[in-house]
C-alpha cells in the first residue's frame, strides 16, 4: 500500500476511535451518539428501505433545481459575457437578487408552489443559478481577443459560430467550476428546503424528524449520509469533467 494512502487510512481510523472513546466517556447519546450506534442506525435505515426513498426524493429536489439552474444560468451568462448591451441590462438585476440568501425565498416559494417538490427545487434553483451564471459570464468575458480574431480570419464570422467554436469551448472549464460550486450550494439548499416539510421524505427532512424524536444517532447518520452523497456527486462530476472535457488544461493531459 502506498505511504500516502496508509496515512489517510490511519487518520480516518484514528478519528473514528477518538469519536467512539469520547462518546463512551460522555455517555450521553443526546450530546454525542457513539460511532457504533450510528452504524447500527445506518443499517436499520438501509434495511427498512427508508434511506433509498429519502435519497431518491432529495436527489429529485436537487435535480430539479440544478437542471433548471443550468438551463437558465448558462444562456444568460453567455449573453452577458458576449454582449455589453445584455450585460448592462441584466447585470443590475442579477446584482440585486444575488445577495438574497436562497433560504430567504422559502416563504414565497411556499406561497407560489405550496408544499411540493417544486418548492424545494425552486430553493435549490435560487442557490445554484448565480454561481453558474457568474462563472459562465466570467469565462465568456475572459475569452482572449486574439482567439476571436484568429477564428475570424479563418472564416468564423457570425456571432453564433464564434460563440460555438471559440467562446464556449474556452469558457467550459469556468462553467464547469461554476456548476461544481453550485452543487455544493444546492445541496445545502436541499436540506434547508426539506426542513420546511415540502415532503415526508428526504435526507434533510429526516434530520429534523429524528431531532424531534430526540434520536440524535439518526440525526448524525443522516448528516453523514448527506456528506457522503455530496462527496460522491462531486467526485463523479470531477471525473467526467476532467477526463472528457478539460484534458487540454495544463498539466492534466500527460499526468495520467
Amino acid at each position: 500500500m502506498p505511504h500516502g494512502r496508509l496515512l489517510r487510512l490511519i487518520s480516518f481510523a484514528g478519528a473514528i476511535i477518538i469519536w467512539e472513546i469520547a462518546a463512551s466517556v460522555i455517555n450521553n447519546t443526546l450530546f454525542l451518539p457513539r460511532f457504533t450506534e450510528v452504524i447500527q442506525t445506518f443499517y436499520s435505515v438501509v434495511a427498512s428501505g427508508d434511506l433509498l426513498r429519502d435519497l431518491f426524493e432529495s436527489l429529485m429536489h436537487f435535480g430539479i433545481g440544478l437542471g433548471l439552474g443550468i438551463i437558465i444560468a448558462i444562456p444568460i451568462g453567455m449573453m452577458m459575457g458576449w454582449s455589453r448591451t445584455a450585460d448592462n441590462i441584466i447585470d443590475p438585476l442579477v446584482e440585486l437578487v444575488r445577495p438574497i440568501p436562497p433560504i430567504a425565498w422559502i416563504p414565497f416559494a411556499i406561497m407560489w408552489l405550496h408544499l411540493t417538490h417544486y418548492t424545494a427545487g425552486f430553493i435549490v434553483f435560487i442557490g445554484v443559478v448565480f454561481p453558474i451564471l457568474i462563472n459562465t459570464y466570467a469565462g465568456f468575458k475572459d475569452t482572449p481577443h486574439i482567439l476571436i480574431e484568429s477564428a475570424r480570419v479563418l472564416g468564423c464570422r457570425t456571432d453564433r459560430d464564434l460563440i460555438k467554436k471559440v467562446a464556449l469551448p474556452y469558457a467550459l472549464p469556468s462553467i464547469a467550476t461554476g456548476v461544481r460550486i453550485a452543487m455544493g450550494v444546492g445541496w445545502m439548499c436541499v436540506v434547508a428546503a426539506e426542513l420546511f416539510g415540502v415532503s415526508n421524505h428526504g435526507l434533510g427532512y429526516k434530520i429534523w424528524w429524528y431531532k424531534d424524536l430526540h434520536q440524535m444517532d439518526g440525526v448524525l447518520t443522516y448528516m453523514l449520509i448527506l456528506g457522503l452523497v455530496s462527496l460522491t456527486i462531486d467526485q463523479i462530476f470531477r471525473q467526467i469533467i476532467d477526463e472528457k472535457l478539460l484534458k487540454w488544461k495544463t498539466g492534466l493531459v500527460r499526468s495520467k
Binding site: L147, E149, S150, R152, V153, L154, P169, W248, V253
Partner: protein
C-alpha cells in the same frame, strides 16, 4: 494584386497611419520594418479586415476588402492556437469553417504534418509544444484555407535565434512552392533582408512609408555574404535615420 490606396488610420484624434499607398504584386514577399508603435501591425490588421481604415481603401484583385475573408490569411506573433483543440484539430479549423467534413479535413491535413515535423504530435495540445512548433501549426492552419495573401505579424518574434532561422528557411520553402503574396511585419533587419523581395521602411508615428528597398538576390540567401551585408547596411541606415528623428522628438518633448 494587393493595393493599398491613400490609407489613413486614426484612433480618436491620434493619427497612426498617414497616407499609405502601396502596390503589391502577386507572390511578392514584402517585409514591413519600422520603429515600434509606427503602425505596421495596424496596417496588417486593416488588410486582414480586423480593423477599418479611417479613410482610403484596400483592394485585392480589384475587390475592396471590408471584413475578414478567406482570401487573406493571418499568422499572429502569439500563435493564437485554440488551447482546447489538439494540433490536428487546430490545423483543420479553417477547413471546418468552410464546411469540410471533419474526418475528411483531418485526413487531408495529416500529410502536411510530416514535413513540418509535427507528425507524432497530432494528438498533442498546444501547451505541450515548443514555440517553434506552435508557430508551424499556426502557419499550416493559415495556409490550409488557401489564401491568396498571407499576413504575418512578427511571427517569429518570440522564438530563439536558432528556431527563428530554421522557421525562416521553412517559410521560404513553403512560399517557393505555392508563391503566395506575403506581408511580413518584423523588427529584425536580418530577418527582413533574408526573406523579402522588398523591404518597406516606416517612419515614426504617424506611420508613413519612408523608404522601399528592393532585394534582387537569389534565395536561399547567405546571411553572411557581401551582398546581403550591403543591403543590410542600407536598411539599417534608412532605419537609423528614422531612429534618430525618433530620439530627437523624444528629447524635444522631454524638454
Amino acid at each position: 494584386m494587393l493595393q493599398i490606396n491613400n490609407l489613413n488610420k486614426k484612433y480618436d484624434e491620434l493619427l497612426v497611419l498617414e497616407d499609405i499607398n502601396l502596390e503589391i504584386a502577386d507572390s511578392e514577399f514584402i517585409c514591413l520594418l519600422g520603429p515600434s508603435g509606427c503602425g505596421k501591425t495596424t496596417l496588417l490588421r486593416i488588410v486582414a479586415g480586423l480593423e477599418q481604415a479611417t479613410t482610403g481603401s484596400i483592394t485585392l484583385n480589384n475587390q475592396t476588402v471590408t471584413s475578414t475573408n478567406t482570401c487573406i490569411g493571418m499568422v499572429f506573433q502569439e500563435y493564437a492556437l485554440f488551447p482546447w483543440r489538439n494540433i490536428l484539430d487546430n490545423a483543420i479549423f479553417g477547413l471546418e469553417m468552410k464546411g469540410v467534413d471533419k474526418e475528411t479535413a483531418r485526413t487531408k491535413t495529416r500529410k502536411y504534418l510530416r514535413p513540418l515535423g509535427l507528425e507524432q504530435f497530432e494528438k498533442s495540445y498546444p501547451h505541450e509544444l515548443s514555440g517553434g512548433m506552435k508557430q508551424r501549426v499556426a502557419i499550416l492552419r493559415a495556409l490550409l484555407i488557401k489564401p491568396e495573401v498571407l499576413l504575418m505579424d512578427e511571427p517569429f518574434g518570440a522564438l530563439d535565434a536558432q528556431t527563428r532561422n530554421q522557421l525562416q528557411t521553412e517559410l521560404l520553402k513553403i512560399w517557393n512552392k505555392d508563391k503566395k503574396t506575403v506581408l511580413f511585419v518584423t523588427h529584425s533587419v536580418d530577418e527582413a533582408v533574408y526573406l523579402a523581395d522588398r523591404v518597406i521602411i516606416f517612419s515614426n508615428r504617424p506611420g508613413k512609408i519612408r523608404k522601399m528597398i528592393e532585394i534582387n538576390l537569389p534565395r536561399p540567401r547567405d546571411r553572411t555574404s557581401m551582398e546581403v551585408n550591403k543591403i543590410r547596411n542600407k536598411v539599417l541606415k534608412a532605419l537609423g535615420a528614422e531612429q534618430e528623428t525618433h530620439d530627437q522628438n523624444k528629447t524635444n518633448t522631454n524638454q
